[in-house]
Symmetry: none
Subunit: 199 residues, 4 copies
């Protein structure tokens, strides 16, 4: 998280409840209007809070949005005993998170902002990495089971698994259904295995 200043111990302490209400309102409005349509006044109103209260905790709208996103539940790590199934489920969960529904546009908005604002970039990084963690677990388990080569570069593997879906969501705008996810996952796995055998 990223509260502006660590609550000093003198004076009236900041209400934890308030912070939660703000983040929740942010998330809801983010979902409804997208980042570009996100209004701080509205967040304040929905959260039943005043603007200064918001700015006492987060230095800017972007930071707030980023923090709200960080709070999103991490993906749960599936375990069907089968690599492909696990990965398909993970990609689908990710899709559900910000790909399918109205959250779709937060990610690009944040990406846009990051290009100009390295400070924010650093802030968001960890949250995004967290979302990728379950992929690592699943992939490692795949390696242990011998379904994947041990020389695997995990980072590249995740990019490969997630990339096609993201391309559709963020760029082409094409629909992503289960069949598509399964296909791309299968090809990625096959590619990773094939390459490892060569080198």
């Amino acid at each position: 998280m990223s509260s502006r200043s660590d609550t000093p111990s003198i004076g009236r302490p900041r209400s934890e409840e308030t912070s939660r209400a703000i983040l929740e309102a942010t998330l809801r409005l983010l979902a409804r209007h997208g980042f570009a349509g996100l209004r701080v006044d509205q967040i304040a109103e929905v959260a039943g809070v005043s603007k200064p209260t918001i700015y006492r905790r987060w230095p800017s709208k972007i930071h707030l949005a980023a923090d709200a996103l960080s709070g999103l539940p991490d993906l749960s790590t599936p375990d069907h005993g089968d690599l492909e199934s696990d990965l398909v489920e993970l990609v689908t969960s990710l899709l559900d998170l910000f790909g399918k529904a109205p959250l779709a546009d937060i990610l690009p908005a944040l990406a846009a902002e990051r290009a100009q604002n390295p400070e924010l970039s650093a802030l968001i990084g960890p949250a995004i990495r967290d979302k990728r963690k379950p992929f690592f677990s699943v992939l490692r388990r795949g390696i242990e089971r011998g379904e994947l080569p041990s020389t695997l570069n995990l980072d590249v593997a995740v990019d490969l698994l997630v990339g096609p879906m993201l391309t559709r969501v963020l760029v082409t705008g094409d629909v992503v259904d289960e069949r598509y996810v399964r296909t791309t996952v299968r090809i990625s796995i096959a590619g990773l295995i094939a390459i490892a055998e060569l080198s």
Copy 2:
């Protein structure tokens, strides 16, 4: 392109020169300041044009930016006689276009906007598809040469090739160098081949 209304032959015609100046100025400022830092007044000034003239042609800043991007040169189709080299070059070109430098944040900004504005979405679609065209040519040539299976789904293939790079640019913010591009391209090709053999 997307001029607000198709110029009828009556009255003083819209100066084509003016449109070009506006688009060029937009592109230049987009490159320098990014989409978030793009100012219509400034475009007007740089283009030597008045604000109303801009708004007579494009309904909003986003539409203008989208149109300016559409005007970006299409990727040239490389032909080294080698599938992998061709694809690596294509992906790298794409990266150079909006992935690397200051144009980086236009794409996400547009992506963000599209989610809310289907009209704009329709506008952008073709331009994006055009950028993908050279991939299709190269892939088809690969099939002809027998480097790729003929059952290949071209759309999926392009997603697979481009997706990892995009993921880094738009989401994780990690650096994309030539080695990375080559690796992901190689894996994708291998995967596409491997899968075809199975089914």
Copy 3:
């Protein structure tokens, strides 16, 4: 009248019909929307004429409006054989012209403009003086009949007769009815007579 330049004899001559249509449209729109709400585009549309055609004949909106007003019919000179009746009728006619109805705000608008624009001032002067002419006739007849002293300053007399009505119309916004007009006219006449006797 004030055509911008006297029609040159070479080339196609200006249509007299056109000028009339413009002035008529101006007058109509002036009546409906007042001077502040007068739009040149609208005049052009109503007159079935293009904007440049208007500006070829009048150098500005104000000049056009002034010209349109000049075209208003002069007050007819009443002759009831009775000074008071004649003056009451004249003041009432003036009131009807621009005091009562929607033309009410042209006069002040012109007045406002005159303060800044002496050229226009000169233009309007004569038209206004023309409207006052019948007063002079009636007053002179009154002098001849011995109803008024011969030493009378006519200009001051007209101001005195017209002023109270104008004050209500332009400044206080109070209603002006026949009774009010008759009262002020009667007092003015009495004052003019009384003063003449003193000096």
Copy 4:
């Protein structure tokens, strides 16, 4: 005055200082450039205030100007012990206020606006009536001293006194000097007395 809404005691109160600065700047610029040349941006700059702050208090430029005028100092009530002198001084003061100098065009501009905007009309009314108050005092004193008949209609009397001067200022554009004022005042008084004797 006419602040957009009566300031409630909740939240940060509107700075009275700010309002004063805006009105003062308005008045100054009004005097320098006239109403037609009045620019809101400039008012903001001169007042050291932002445009939204202005529009938070007054719904439009006209309302602001009207309010600024309302703030003009009321005429002081002279007392030379002589009716005519008092009235001449009052009319001259009025002339100085908006008749002589650059404020001349505000009054007509407001008059023009009032015709279309009854809300504004209501706003201005009181201010104008206030300016007339000293006339009432002086006239009443004249009645007490027996210089004027007690049956006098004060409203009509003021119109009579002020009307001629206004006619010149707003309509004919003729010069108004002391001699003119004295003459019209004298005639008006004489008329008022003469009429009273008759009835």
